[in-house]
Every structure is written in structure tokens, then in C-alpha cells.
Amino acid sequence: MHEWALAEALISTVIQVSKKEGLRKIFEIEVRIGELQDIDLEIFKFALIQLRPDYLKDAEFKFKIVKTKLKCRICGHEWSPRKDELDESVREAIHFIPEITHAYLRCPRCGSIDFDIIEGRGVWLEYVRGK
């Protein structure tokens, strides 16, 4: 489960932040997740609960899913791919490495494979609230 790897990354980031800021109790953690990452939130939450150290026990995790936005570098067209346009194995590949979109997607307007992922990738720690 690759959700576990990302959950581990999130917990270890929260630990680093709280150490650095001298926080001993955390109330709230907000995480921004790119849609392309296609994370199974149930598994992700479960992993977080299993992995969190004691002082994060009462912390509430908040998740914000950021919609995918791609922009063609040739014609400037912006679009959001629909999940159901992609077959299962491609979705899975993108789930592991979102940049794989560059192997499978094209600009729907001009057919170019040269596009930027403007939004929709990554797992970001937005903020932690604690004392």
C-alpha cells in the first residue's frame, strides 16, 4: 500500500515541525492532497492512526483534495482529465508516480504531449495547530 508510505512521510514531517517549533500537543493537522495522487483516504487515515505517536493522539486530520489542472504548453488549453477516461492500469501507474500522466495523456485540443501539471499532485502539510 503506497498510502502507507505517504502516511509515514506525513507523520515524520509533523514530527519534524513540532520538534522545531517546540509543540508538545497537536490539535489539528491540515493536509492538501493532489487529486492525481488518487489516494484512498480510508487507507490513508487508517495508516495515520496506526503510525502516529502518542502526542498526536488527539489531533484531528483535515484533508483537502486539490483538483487536477493541466495546461498545454503548445496551445495554452487548460483542462482537468476525468478519471473515467483512463483505464485502470494507467490510473494505478499515475497513482504511484503522478508525472506518468506525461506518458499517457495528451492535450484534448491540439494533441500535444507537452503540458504542465499546474495543480493536483503531491501531498502537502498545510498547517499544524498545537501548543
Binding site: M1, L6, A9, A93, I117
Partner: protein, 264 residues
């Protein structure tokens, strides 16, 4: 991207925001040596050397991983005939063993499709791969590097700070000119250079050796141009019997000495 503070006690340092960065060191914690097979140029034999080196070390009983980080032009999967192997999902991704080597490549996901990656995409794909791949305990992690000293190489240097560099050149002045720049860059960044291998030698010349000495970089040995190599690509048994492989296998002795690694 919103700044960190919303209430008095909210904190997140900007650098820490990308959560994947925090586990990269952890993923290679139990890897003793990370060796980046690198050159200023393409086509000098990095992928061939990285593959032969990995095989040779694995056969000596060392725990070996091979990570193909030439993400836009991967080729070790062809040399080692990786076929349909796939990583296992277990709290991340565990690379499958190919001929005794834990093997990881973007081709598990991109298959044979071209995957153009600009600098930022390369960084992201690299960070993602580093963050999710669980190498476990290894004596050596061999990295097949992209050519040159552009974004991709700088990213790998920045993210995998423990990499020691094994540099490949051909006998040509043109190749060595780019290699000199790579060496200068690595020295400025205080990165360890294990040594230089001179590949595809076709006639006597001490140009590379003399110049390696001048730069204070260890000359690990030369490998002749092997006209039978092409036919052995993709057939590991055949590959292991090439003059090329035997020569690399010999240089591995030197390399282990250079790393002060006791033979098992």
C-alpha cells in the same frame, strides 16, 4: 500556497511542506553505499556499467539494488531483461529481485511510452520514487544516472546526499571535457568520487589516465570496445560471458578496495 499562520500557534516551515522529502533519508537508511554511475555525456556506457556492476556485486554475495534514474531514457530494464516483473506493494513499494538485484525503474509504470519530463516534473517524479521505494537493507545501491549536469543530476545530488560517484568516460577528449566539468562540480559540492572508468577503448592511449591523475581522481581501469556486446543485451547469461562483463568484474575488485569494502 497559503502562508503557515492562521492562528497563533499554526506552524509549518515552507521547506517542510512537501511531506515526501522527510522520508527520503529514512528509505535508504539501511543502505551502506550509494553509488551513482555518472558522466558528463550520454552514450558512454553508464547503463551498461551500472548493470554489470550490480550483477557482479550481487554474485559476490552482496545485497544490491539498482535504481534506474535516467527517467526519460531508461535502459537497464532492456539490458537485464526485466520483462513483466512488478514491484510489490507493502507500505510503499518493494522492488522485485531481478537476477538477485532489487531493481527499480520508472518503466514499471511508463512501460515503453515516451515520458517527457521537464525539470520540475523530473524533480517530482524523483522525489515520489525516493519517498515510496523501500530498499530495505543493502550493501550497495547503484544508481544509473542521467547524463550531464543539468536539473536531473543536480536533483539527485541534492536529494541523495550520500551518493558516491563512479565516473564513466570514453577515450575521447570530447567526453573527458564534459567529465572534467562534472568532477569540478562534485568537488565543489564536496561529494566523494570513487574513480573513473575509461570505456570503449579502441587503441592504446594514456590521455584519460594522465588527466585523471592530474585531477586527483582515481583511474579504476579501462574497458575495451567489445563488438560482441550488442548481441548480449537482454540475455544476462550471455552478458555475463562478454569481455565487457569480465573486465567490469575485475574493476569491481578495485572498486571494493577503493571503498575499503572487505570481500565476503
Amino acid at each position: 500556497m497559503k502562508s503557515s499562520s492562521k492562528w497563533g500557534n499554526d506552524v509549518v516551515n515552507d521547506k517542510l511542506k512537501d511531506v515526501r522529502l522527510s522520508v527520503i533519508d529514512e528509505r535508504i537508511r539501511d543502505v551502506k553505499n550509494v553509488i551513482a554511475v555518472s558522466s558528463g555525456k550520454g552514450g558512454v556506457g553508464k547503463s551498461l556499467v551500472a548493470s554489470a556492476l550490480s550483477l557482479s556485486l550481487a554474485r559476490r554475495g552482496y545485497g544490491v539494488g539498482l535504481f534506474d534514474l535516467d527517467l526519460t531514457s531508461p535502459s537497464t530494464h532492456i539490458i537485464l531483461d526485466v520483462k513483466d516483473a512488478q514491484p510489490i506493494e507493502d507500505r510503499g513499494i518493494v522492488p522485485p529481485k531481478i537476477h538477485g538485484i532489487s531493481y527499480m525503474s520508472i518503466t514499471y509504470y511508463s512501460r515503453d511510452k515516451p515520458t517527457p519530463l521537464r525539470g520540475r516534473d523530473f524533480s517530482n517524479a524523483l522525489i515520489e520514487l525516493m519517498a515510496i521505494t523501500r530498499w530495505g537493507t543493502l550493501d550497495f545501491l547503484i544508481i544509473d544516472m542521467p547524463p550531464g549536469i543539468s536539473d536531473a543530476t543536480l536533483d539527485i545530488i541534492g536529494l541523495i546526499k550520500r551518493s558516491k560517484f563512479l565516473i564513466i568516460t570514453t577515450p575521447s577528449k570530447l567526453a573527458f571535457e564534459t567529465v572534467k566539468k562534472l568532477i569540478k562540480l562534485l568537488s565543489d559540492l564536496h561529494i566523494e568520487i570513487i574513480g573513473i572508468i575509461e570505456n570503449m577503448k579502441i587503441k592504446e592511449s594514456d590521455f584519460i589516465k594522465v588527466n585523471a591523475d592530474k585531477l586527483g581522481v582515481k583511474y579504476l581501469g579501462e574497458v575495451n570496445f567489445d563488438e560482441n556486446l550488442e548481441d548480449a543485451l537482454g540475455d544476462v547469461d550471455k552478458f555475463s560471458n562478454t569481455e565487457f562483463f569480465k573486465r567490469i568484474d575485475g574493476i569491481v575488485e578495485e572498486l571494493l578496495k577503493a571503498l575499503a569494502f572487505e570481500a565476503q
